[in-house]
Symmetry: C2
Subunit: 517 residues, 2 copies
Amino acid sequence: MMELQLGHHYLIISQSKFNSGTNMFKDATIEEVNVAVSHSYQAFQQYRKYSLKQRADLMRAIAIELELCGDELIQTAMNETNLPEARLRGERARTIYQLTSYADACENGDWLDARIDTAIPDKNPPKPDIRKTLIPLGPVVVFGSSNFPFAYSTAGGDTACALAAGCSVIIKAHPAHAQTSEIVAQAVHRAIAKNNMPQHLFTHIHGASFEVGKALVTHTLVKAVGFTGSFSGGKQLFDWGNQRKEPIPVFAEMGSVNPVFLLKEKLAQSANDIAKQYAASVTLGVGQFCTNPGLIIGIKSEALNQFQTTLQSEIEHIAPAKMLHAGIAKAFFEKRANALQQSNVALLAKTKLAADAISGEPTIAKVDAKTFIQNSLLHQEVFGPYSLLIECVDENEMLMVANHLEGQLTSTIMATPNDIQSNQTLIDTIKQICGRIILNGVPTGVEVCRSMMHGGPFPATTDARFTAVGADGIKRFARPIAYQNWNNDVLPDELKNENPLNIWRMVNNEWTKNKIA
Amino acid sequence: MMELQLGHHYLIISQSKFNSGTNMFKDATIEEVNVAVSHSYQAFQQYRKYSLKQRADLMRAIAIELELCGDELIQTAMNETNLPEARLRGERARTIYQLTSYADACENGDWLDARIDTAIPDKNPPKPDIRKTLIPLGPVVVFGSSNFPFAYSTAGGDTACALAAGCSVIIKAHPAHAQTSEIVAQAVHRAIAKNNMPQHLFTHIHGASFEVGKALVTHTLVKAVGFTGSFSGGKQLFDWGNQRKEPIPVFAEMGSVNPVFLLKEKLAQSANDIAKQYAASVTLGVGQFCTNPGLIIGIKSEALNQFQTTLQSEIEHIAPAKMLHAGIAKAFFEKRANALQQSNVALLAKTKLAADAISGEPTIAKVDAKTFIQNSLLHQEVFGPYSLLIECVDENEMLMVANHLEGQLTSTIMATPNDIQSNQTLIDTIKQICGRIILNGVPTGVEVCRSMMHGGPFPATTDARFTAVGADGIKRFARPIAYQNWNNDVLPDELKNENPLNIWRMVNNEWTKNKIA
């Protein structure tokens, strides 16, 4: 059996790795995948012609149906994922907000980057009228994540972005919450029916096996892939996508250790507060966030000792909690054990509260910077409530640590204005390895807004030029087309002279909502 | 010896394939490549911190130096490429326009897609201040093209975009015009020196061999690649880029046959005019444009007969002209012969004027639609003054042809308003395979402007989400970074409250140039 880690779980696995009885669905056969993609492509041919308003209406209708799923959906997700009720209610609300805010952005139309250069007939040679907008790529395969059963799964961020772009969507349900995924998919289909749209513009496929994912990504009619999960899973999809006869974009958001740099003056001022803040951040959601702070880097000092002491006493009193499924818990314990066995790595803090075999135990390890730099295993994510404190002898060594880190979703600087002033090279180095840089905060918590960048240099994602969160993520699934010399009446609405959609457009190099005379 | 077609020429070749005596430069060794990339990376670390205005000033200085190269540059390029003087003077002017217009766009700053969402402290949980801009990817390797010794080579579009984005550039000179490339590189270095910038932000490398290109693309410090040339060359670079431990974006603009659809009413009205227009377009620049119309698709009719007759008499009187180099001429003759040997393919027209062995002979072949659909060899580009007329029995068959085409840079529709009305499905199909769709014009001629899309679905390019022409091409070489919770004084200028650069920014979902109170 191949062990392919996809979405923080093993794809080909015995069902016992998941919570008992959750996945009663059979894997799709290759024939079923082929039929599904073919239907999705046909639905795409209709859906892509729908107006921005129609797409937005569908997305808002899905949001309403999700809300109407009520307690049944929450209960099912609780059973399948072990996530607590409040978290799941919050995550559903976030998913609804994503759908409605991306719907607003879709209708608003500025994401189309509409550009118009009007003709200059007396130029030599004459300059033709050229107008550019975005069109959808085609059917998009979305792999549901294990750690966000709503927000980055069936009707989550990737699905919302693809629908806004005008693409049809094929969901590969995450087998760890297949029933939850099924309920959400039914909600999506009710919204599609109520909007009289083609049924197959959204397709829900089960598949715990390697083969289903491969068949989807390598199908000639599939034109893009969205994925949130582990490095090995995302990288495999990326390779399949690029090895096709016609390569396709695979946007995989993968692992990240989200380093946190504790600068001297700030730490001296607030060691206790920062320790409490980070004890909470490391263990939030049993550490199962892609922005979990997995590395904390400080300089040997009295303040760092104080930070350690407080962090230790905080961690000791944080209760373990069940992880998403047995496979993730097993991986957590194995990777933690492996990290702790490395030479010069010491256990700094561990919860004193009792836990069962599938609960993540809040844990902090400690290592010196030299060892960290030399041992690449310590740079890898231990998915769960675990963080590694790296002690540097001085600022130079802290800079060396930064220089040895791979691409990250986020990096955080805890710093006073003086610290910022005296650590310009460090901060500048950190900017180059991450997609989001946080000052005096925690990386957990990813706002859904236009300014969000949730992505980063490889291996954090497979394409650092796009975000997976925020309406700018729509652009992952669209491409420009230029119309040269077309009559106004046969142009798409967003490019017509009279600007009937009333959107922002760049006309002859200036942004405007004005009509063209 | 491997035969890797790169940039419309064979990379590992005897120098005799090029024009005599043009390439007196030795290939860089792997050690030299490593040193060059290392220096480029160091220069990047300085250059990326320069302001938009400083980058723009450098680009304008390069434009001035190119102009100052005077006749020597034109003469050298004439000797190396066989392109006529007027064309080369025009191409240099275009290159200067690219540099200055992208410099304007760079300084203007709207390409940064700056986004600001201000904090909402009383939200639960509090919403932090988040601001997003673009930062450069790192050292970019640009492969000079054979067919545009200025505009898509050493100081061409890719180089201008990379410099605007804040990247350092390593040029792999095209061996068919190595001396021209050398003169341009010296001009770039004079501009760098005059602007007191680090010398190695621009590096010029010679390499006719496969190994030099591979060493550049696979070097860990190289972060992106730009290429204009053949399918096999571009695809090889794309594969190398993706097979790295850290994959990098490879933007390759490759082959395209740029289909032209002659709709019925339009053809009946203007058969002679269209034939004359296309005889000129097919043979423009000895057919050595990536937008050369390689397929012309019409419906069997009296008008199509008339079109053929005129096209034939036009082509017969167009003089052959020397192609870029001996290797390209050889490939033209071989591919033309191969196409003409296919069953049901007939020679329709050929110049009657005498040519030598390295001159491209204007040629039109003809085939029925059924044969075309079944024979994929006929879908491939014959680089040079060659086009294939495809005769369809009716509109259905024309639609079938459209449905069987691969991704293209451009497609053209020759149509009256009635034709457009009655061919909606056809036009809709064509939109899905190309990056630019032209009505009643010729595809040759690519305006340098913001609305241009020069790119298209694979195999026309390796990433249809970006353009290679126009200032939007800058975005190929940059990625977003979000600043969360940073003090105003330490933000980059484009994100500061007072908007010191006076650029367009999306603030709380609205485009504005206003300051933030």
